[in-house]
């Protein structure tokens, strides 16, 4: 009986589904509950009113999406070639190269960001948007490189060879065969980079002296001032926004 359940691999998701239910969905219900409470604790749509009527908040959200886009695109542009070079033996890069990407992340983010600030100071570069994007790419590059790298490692070489045998030019082999095959990795990378970028705040605080406000900063500000309701509403809005976009764009 048990082995029959186990034989259908779709059922293997249920332990995690339960974990999701308890630690993700139920807390989400808490968030929804708080987002409908205004500062006095009464039920109201006040928080959502406030967001949609406030040009500041809307602009901050749009701006954050823009920064997230830039970061993601740069991560792809920098990370894809890196993953490619590391996955092909002929380039002769040591196998632990991939591990070296994540090593800087084990230094605590505050210390690491302060060091980035010091770096910019030494190079006489101004802090601001540019520093922020550098810091973001710096922080999220491993998250883009790893899934692409793993996908490339597992790529079926015979498909590439077949394309080459059929007379396709190297460029065509890449665009028609290799790149589409690496897409699942790129997609995972995009998800792991784009979404957290909107919600980061520590980097913006330190690398721009709080001159750049990201959506994460906005949420953090409100919670730190005790306005849990508005903070909850804001994060709910982002969730719904991303939910809607993934509804329209299925990855298959």
């Amino acid at each position: 009986m048990v082995s029959k359940i186990l034989a259908n691999r779709a059922n293997w998701v249920w332990p995690y589904a339960i974990v999701l239910l308890v630690f993700v969905v139920m807390p989400l219900v808490m968030i929804v509950y708080y987002s409908f409470q205004d500062a006095e604790g009464q039920w109201s749509l006040h928080n959502f009113h406030k967001f949609f009527l406030s040009t500041d908040s809307l602009n901050t959200l749009i701006y954050s999406i823009g920064i997230a886009m830039i970061t993601t695109i740069l991560c792809i542009l920098l990370g894809y070639p890196a993953a490619y070079f590391m996955s092909k033996k002929e380039y002769g890069l040591p196998k632990v190269m991939a591990a070296l990407f994540i090593l800087p992340m084990w230094i605590n983010v505050l210390l690491r960001t302060l060091a980035t600030v010091a770096l910019f100071d030494f190079a006489h570069l101004p802090l601001g948007e540019g520093a922020l994007i550098f810091g973001m790419v710096y922080n999220f590059l491993p998250f883009m490189v790893y899934p692409i790298y793993n996908t490339m490692l597992k790529m079926d070489g015979s498909l590439i060879e077949a394309a080459q045998d059929l007379g396709a030019s190297p460029r065509k082999v890449f665009t028609e065969v290799f790149f589409p095959l690496s897409m699942p990795g790129v997609y995972s990378g995009i998800v792991m980079v784009f979404m957290p970028t909107i919600s980061t705040f520590a980097l913006a605080e330190l690398l721009t002296m709080n001159n750049v406000k990201l959506f994460g900063t906005l949420i953090q500000e409100n919670i730190n001032a005790g306005l849990l309701g508005y903070g909850a509403a804001l994060s709910l809005i982002v969730l719904i926004l991303i939910g809607l976009t993934s509804f329209f764009d299925s990855e298959e």
Binding site: P15, Y138, Y146, Q220, E252
Partner: protein
């Protein structure tokens, strides 16, 4: 020629990634409280750190950080791998989309919202916060990353080898171990490493789930530290040591595997 270009590209990228780390390393040899100021060469910070003057608090924090990271990452990897296999084999439809979206929620939410929401849940359920709560919360936000690292590998895998193994008489467990896991290994390892990274760096979630005990992690220690007196300078040698140790381990591992493959 192509080899040279690849090497230059990667090493330049590495240089940029490691430049801030090198700064930390260099400035761990001066006593200035502010990173970037140089008050003369001195190994005093290392002495302070190693003689335990920087406090038992730091030791406690390190111990907790490592414990939480290892346990959470290990559980996440196992849970996430099974989940990825499960999701991959589900029919496309509402249930699958719902689970996929729920999986992404911890990545979309700011850390502080994840932290507060889990805190509120535990308050509502009347469960005290503490080490167990912290580990559960960490598992909750690490597993999605494991799932996202294993999924692309699943898509590359031949869909029939599992059934083939079962047909050839393997039990599901054997089939899992000998057929599926090897295919997914690099994804699992990446997921594990990313999970450790996220757990070690996390601040907001740990803050709200640690309760009133002394579950201090490196992150909560550092953030609280930064508020009043500026970052304790002893943190620079601490992380320099961590960095060098892991770097050395990696180099050794690389040399060993290089020797092994050259022996073949």
């Amino acid at each position: 020629m192509k080899k040279a270009f690849a090497n230059v590209y990667i090493w330049v990228l590495m240089l940029l990634l490691y430049a801030p780390i090198l700064l930390i390393l260099v400035f761990s040899f001066t006593e200035a409280k502010v990173l970037g100021s140089w008050t003369g060469f001195s190994a005093n910070l290392y002495k302070n750190l190693l003689s335990g003057e920087a406090g038992a608090a730091l030791n406690n924090a390190i111990y907790n950080t490592v414990l939480i990271a290892l346990v959470a990452a290990a559980v996440s990897t196992i849970l996430g791998t099974f989940a990825a296999i499960g999701i991959h084999n589900m029919r496309h439809g509402r249930v699958r989309s719902a689970i996929t979206f729920a999986n992404n929620i911890p990545m979309i939410n700011p850390d502080i919202i994840t932290g507060i929401s889990i805190f509120l849940l535990f308050v509502f359920l009347g469960i005290g916060r503490g080490l167990f709560c912290v580990i559960c919360a960490h598992i909750a936000f690490c597993t999605p990353y494991v799932v996202l690292n294993v999924m692309p590998q699943l898509m590359k895998m031949n869909p029939n080898i599992y059934e083939a193994a079962l047909d050839l008489g393997a039990t599901p467990m054997q089939a899992l171990r000998k057929v599926i896991i090897p295919e997914l290994k690099s994804g699992m390892v990446s997921g594990f490493i990313l999970a450790i990274t996220l757990s070690v760096d996390d601040f907001a979630v740990t803050l709200f789930t640690k309760g009133s005990g002394t579950v201090e992690t490196l992150s909560t220690y550092i953030y609280a530290d930064a508020r009043k007196g500026g970052l304790t300078p002893e943190l620079r040698p601490l992380f320099s040591i961590i960095f060098i140790v892991i770097l050395v381990l990696l180099v050794f591992y690389n040399l060993k595997t290089a020797k092994d493959t050259s022996k073949d």
